[in-house]
Subunit: 171 residues, 2 copies
């Protein structure tokens, strides 16, 4: 039987599809950029970052990590023609609240030793300083041989408490 979450998806989507008018959009993003931001539930990138349907690739993961996004960024640029990246992290991020050993401890406690062995060598990519983490991701992207020089890279902070974005880093 469908869960409440699944029912919500089906019902809300029915309403969305009934007034859908955006057929025939091309595969590559019209505005040729990609946003990397956090999976955090308090962020709606379309509204908060002003991304209209078909404008941009939106890559989201825990912490908005550029490292974790690199596979997607290579596809975005090399196959789908994007040439600018916005990196956006936020205060109050879960990734500011734990260290690698903390999450590994929780995995071992909750999921057992086999699960713990699987994540033993993982970097969950937590960070302790928000703006430094934005700058570090911008540096990482700048230095990556997989992101060519012509790609614009900028780093931002989005404040989940105010809805405001501010710039941190720009190449």
């Amino acid at each position: 039987m469908a869960s409440q979450i699944q029912q919500n998806l089906v019902e809300k989507n029915k309403a969305y599809a009934s007034s859908f008018t955006k057929s025939g959009l091309a595969l590559p993003p019209a505005k040729k950029y990609a946003v990397v931001t956090c999976m955090d539930a308090r962020i709606d990138p379309s509204s908060a970052y002003g991304i209209s349907l078909d404008d941009a690739h939106a890559i989201r993961n825990a912490g908005g990590s550029a490292r974790n996004a690199l596979r997607s960024l290579v596809i975005s640029e090399q196959l789908l023609g994007t040439n600018e990246i916005l990196l956006v992290k936020h205060p109050g991020c879960g990734m500011l609240t734990f260290k690698n050993e903390d999450v590994k401890g929780v995995v071992e406690k909750n999921l057992g030793s086999e699960a713990a062995a699987e994540v033993k060598s993982w970097d969950f990519l937590p960070f302790s300083d928000l703006e430094e983490a934005v700058r570090e991701d911008a540096r990482y992207s700048n230095e990556s041989k997989l992101i060519p020089e012509y790609v614009g890279i900028s780093g931002w902070v989005y404040e989940v408490e105010t809805g405001k974005v501010r710039t941190v880093e720009d190449r």
Copy 2:
């Protein structure tokens, strides 16, 4: 100087922040679920999948890959209390249009041999059959020791041409 894309972010965000009323939301998603979907520019998960601000983690990457999302899913479940995952892929996905050797060839041609060497062992996670790819990601999630049995997993297809979602797989 700020690019047009950056100016768009700043201007649209100013309007968004000026009517922002959602301070004080808790870090864990209120509806305790996570969505994994594609970075594709033609998808607005909030509207199309009925995700209100603070409902759910939204994880997005090229193809909506559960494998690429696993780090984020572990954090979502083990640290932030989510217990249901919706996996959503779409027809017309870029990942249906190339093979690993194609993207590696493009990287070598455009970015040179050092870049090619870096991605030599990579799996860019393309797929050739959409529904089978959804089922494969559901299987992968079901079988992962890092996703406990109590987590609900369902697989979906979102049609970018019609705005409609349909179910493929449910555990």
